[in-house]
């Protein structure tokens, strides 16, 4: 049982606050760190990985501080986001070097390469690898000492669907074995498929925490805004406002459209086509106007 504890931790760069008073506990199992790009996920992971000092607060591994403490790397394996990784070595040489730096040898390196199914290409230079292959060799280098904690920064970036599935399967297995696995992502679906526990970071703040159902509900229950154009906007508006799933409708004369605010997402999406059909109104445009990830996240922060 290995736990990373982040306690009232902030980190700023000059005047920019990247992480703002975050507290969380990351325990065994797979945890997803979710947030839009630039939210502070990498900064947070870098503090957990001991590559960055917290400006205030503490980041500890089972009680001992991680910053300036090389001994923690016996327990932590890190898969960094950056690509730089001794491209002039073969995959095998790279993993063997990582094993040696942990005081281990060829046997452990071979086992790690087998775990990520990279034996077939282990004697090729890393510079010839695809993105997914590089990611798997990075993974092998992080697993070589059988760590109890695995930190991965945007591990699925640039992977094709098959590679993504393989890596998810591997991470799931690591989590099931009782390891503490934390990965960051800005894609909700990725996190939802893999993580049993989700931490949401938005604009440096800890916005939400829990299992994916709770987070999903928070995200779908927020008010949704739609822009709708139809053959008879006013008749449609009158029919929709009679239903409790609609909170407000504005007739936008400039756009020649309706701006609708729905409070019950599921109900509204079945209501709209039904009402239109019953009233003999043709729907010309139905487009969500605030579906960007950022707006979803900023709603979460406000909630």
């Amino acid at each position: 049982m290995t736990t990373i504890e982040i306690d009232h931790t902030s980190r700023w760069f000059g005047n920019v606050v990247a992480v703002n008073d975050v507290s969380m506990t990351v325990g065994p199992g797979v945890t997803g760190l979710l947030g839009p790009n630039g939210a502070g996920k990498s900064t947070l992971i870098n503090m957990m990985a001991g590559f960055l000092a917290p400006s205030t607060g503490t980041v500890t591994l089972d009680g001992s501080p991680i910053w300036r403490n090389e001994a923690v790397y016996r327990q932590i394996g890190i898969v960094p986001e950056r690509e730089g990784m001794y491209d002039f070595l073969t995959g095998r040489e790279f993993v063997v070097a990582n094993a040696e730096l942990q005081g281990l040898g060829d046997a452990e390196a071979a086992a790690a390469l087998a775990t990520v199914q990279m034996e077939y290409a282990q004697d090729r230079k890393i510079s010839t690898y695809s993105k997914g292959m590089r990611q798997r060799v990075k993974m092998a280098s992080a697993l070589v000492h059988d760590p109890s904690v695995l930190l991965l920064d945007e591990p699925f970036n640039g992977m094709d669907p098959r590679q993504r599935m393989q890596l998810m399967e591997l991470l799931r297995r690591m989590g099931a074995e009782g390891r503490t696995v934390l990965f960051s992502s800005h894609i909700l679906e990725e996190v939802e498929q893999l993580a049993s526990h989700i931490e949401v970071i938005v604009a440096g703040r800890h916005a939400a925490s829990g299992d994916f159902r709770r987070i999903r509900r928070l995200m779908t229950d927020r008010p949704h805004r739609y822009l709708v154009r139809s053959s008879d906007d006013r008749a449609l508006a009158a029919a929709l406002i009679a239903d409790p799933s609609t909170a407000g409708i504005e007739v936008d004369l400039g756009e020649n459209a309706l701006r609708i605010q729905a409070v019950d997402f599921a109900r509204f999406t079945t209501l709209l086509p039904k009402v239109a059909r019953d009233q003999g109104i043709r729907l010309l445009t139905v487009s969500p106007s605030d579906e960007s990830l950022e707006s979803v996240f900023s709603y979460l922060v406000a909630a």
Partner: protein, 239 residues
């Protein structure tokens, strides 16, 4: 203190890059000059001393030192691959010490060996000139490696800064401003060469005791400080 894995990675990174071509070009140039001078001017102690002092020690050794010293760590910090060394239960000063050993070895091989060969070609080691300058090159290799390794650890512009030091400070100021010579690795190493070479063919502006103390002090302090900087190296900038 020496880590064979770190050393292996550093050697391969240093000698595998395009930059390494300079490591071969400069010594080759020195040998070509030596051969040409010997053919046209014959064996002359003063000429030999001028070539070795003016090109080998004043230009080639510091340049090789810049390539080897900054190249032993700078590119790894730039492309982020140093993460794989730092995320290990290995003391950071141990990483620096190993990289220093590698940088020194590379600088010595590519500067002291060609200096000796060039000296033998120029005047067959008359007045001990070849050996004297080789010793100067060996000693300077140590101090330059430590200095430029530190530079590579603390600055992203290490190569440029290193070149400015090597060419502007050592070569230009060193010959124009007498005071600057006291703070010059080149002069310190020449103080040693002065003792070895015969007949006053080699001169240094710095006395041997001062030179020795400064050489040791610069090497030790630069290495220690680089180790400290690596302990707090921040890999992540702003997102």
């Amino acid at each position: 203190m020496y880590d064979p894995t770190v050393a292996r990675l550093t050697y391969r990174a240093l000698l595998g890059r395009r930059r390494a071509a300079i490591l071969f070009v400069l010594p080759a140039l020195l040998i070509v000059i030596a051969v040409a001078v010997r053919m046209f001017a014959g064996a002359d102690d003063q000429v030999a001393s001028d070539v070795l002092g003016g090109f080998a020690i004043a230009t080639m050794v510091p340049l090789i030192g810049v390539i080897a010293g900054t190249g032993a760590i700078g590119p790894e910090i730039d492309d982020g691959s140093i993460v794989y060394l730092l995320a290990k239960p290995v003391k950071r000063p141990r990483i620096i010490f190993t990289k220093l050993v590698v940088a020194i070895a590379v600088t010595m091989v590519f500067s002291a060996v060609p200096t000796l060969i060039a000296g033998l070609i120029l005047n067959g080691n008359g007045q001990q000139i070849a050996v004297a300058y080789t010793i100067a090159a060996l000693v300077a290799s140590i101090a330059y490696s430590a200095l430029f390794l530190l530079l590579g650890t603390v600055s992203r512009h290490a190569v440029v800064l290193g070149l400015v030091y090597a060419l502007v400070w050592e070569a230009l100021f060193g010959s124009l401003v007498p005071g600057a010579r006291t703070l010059s690795v080149q002069q310190w190493s020449l103080a040693l060469a002065e003792k070895v070479g015969g007949g006053g063919a080699i001169t240094s502006d710095v006395g041997l005791p001062v030179a020795t103390v400064l050489l040791v002090a610069v090497t030790v302090v630069a290495t220690w400080y680089a180790g400290q900087k690596l302990r707090t190296l921040k890999l992540a900038g702003e997102e």
